[in-house]
Symmetry: C2
Subunit: 263 residues, 2 copies
Amino acid sequence: MHTAGVAHEPQPVVAVTRATMRHVSIVPVDGLPEIVAGDDLAGLIAAFSATTPQDVVVISQKVVSKAEGAVVRLDDITPSRRARRLARKFEKDARAVEVVLRQSTEVLRAERGVLITRTTHGFVCANSGVDASNTATGELVLLPEDPDASARRLRSRLPGRPAVVIADSFGRAWRQGQCDIAIGIAGLMPIDDWCGRTDRNDHVLRATAVSIADQAAAAADLVRSKDSGHPAVIVRGLDQYVTAADGPGAVSLIRPAGQDMFR
Amino acid sequence: MHTAGVAHEPQPVVAVTRATMRHVSIVPVDGLPEIVAGDDLAGLIAAFSATTPQDVVVISQKVVSKAEGAVVRLDDITPSRRARRLARKFEKDARAVEVVLRQSTEVLRAERGVLITRTTHGFVCANSGVDASNTATGELVLLPEDPDASARRLRSRLPGRPAVVIADSFGRAWRQGQCDIAIGIAGLMPIDDWCGRTDRNDHVLRATAVSIADQAAAAADLVRSKDSGHPAVIVRGLDQYVTAADGPGAVSLIRPAGQDMFR
């Protein structure tokens, strides 16, 4: 048995190596205007921040989608019979349901007014990630068509070529509340895989694969509130996970269907 | 359509209010020794850090369990028939399977050597959170019996009475890699609920409830590696979510069974 101040005297801080002293800081990019279709998002972020090659710039999906014009007008949508049936059941706008269905390859659950779908990208989430908040009336914002490509494009245009994560808020099975996760990644190791490495007692670590990109997305969300107009956040101190290559992207974070226990 | 440098000139930084400039920093507590049963964990953390009332101290479940003696020796376990059957099927130690079953109220999936269970606390995770890594051979570390109570106890004993989050790495349905989540909370708002509030276009925000505690747990994990001996991490800058009362705890993050779509 150890007790404080007896078995374990505090060690002088000077003895601690730099490597163990790393810390992470998370800073929002202040001053960005409301983003609309056609905006030069990388140029705007560059104008309001100073990014370095070691930074991770976490950008909300919503503004990436808006800048890319991944927006549909409900008036332009003709709902299918299936969409009309689901909409009646859930008392929703059949055109909105139609948009959700078009953005999906599979409906996993349709309960209590929520459609849990697999998106065309492979993400499992509510309503295919289609969103009506913080947008004009009668418009819906879709997920970017290829969020990894969006992240690569943004990275290539940001000063210093920092890592880029495109983040969206996803709910979780069995748990209340949403966390931000990475739906697009360029230049950040998505997973730090400890499988096969040994722990401090020389046990082989199993099933320890840390989702760095999802945790970075979650961390970034802590400095913004949902109406704060902080769609871009810089996470500093993740140098060891930033890569010169754009890497495998967020698509590598999708669990293959064959390993999926919860269809 | 906006373009950088035309429609949106950078605003002078002095015009930005302090409230919008908030940033979060994440610092590991360096120097903590290996924690064993009976250790005064709060005393040790206090000896190696300087905590203030606005801080959030995120502590790994593993060291809380170890300090509390929530450890079982495989040699002391007699497996049930059910445990022996599952162990044969998965080529596992029947005693370890027995421990997992005892820590659960329900087995949701038993596939490919993984038991997805609902723990006695209500968490859904692999193997009831029972863990053999970073522990002595022949021993298994359980989740704390009441992680919210553990968090409250640690909070009351840490200098300045900071918020405390007890974190564990959980896998996620449909996604690769684990993220740290909050299994015990004292003094931190578990969820920042935006439901009913309006967005910037006066739309009522729906289904926007941000899991602050889970995101804080995930953020803290970014500064440690799985063998780094950094079981305690201080997250600073979350002042607006830190509460004088201990609050509803991590139990409030468990989705009620009636709302659970993925049994």
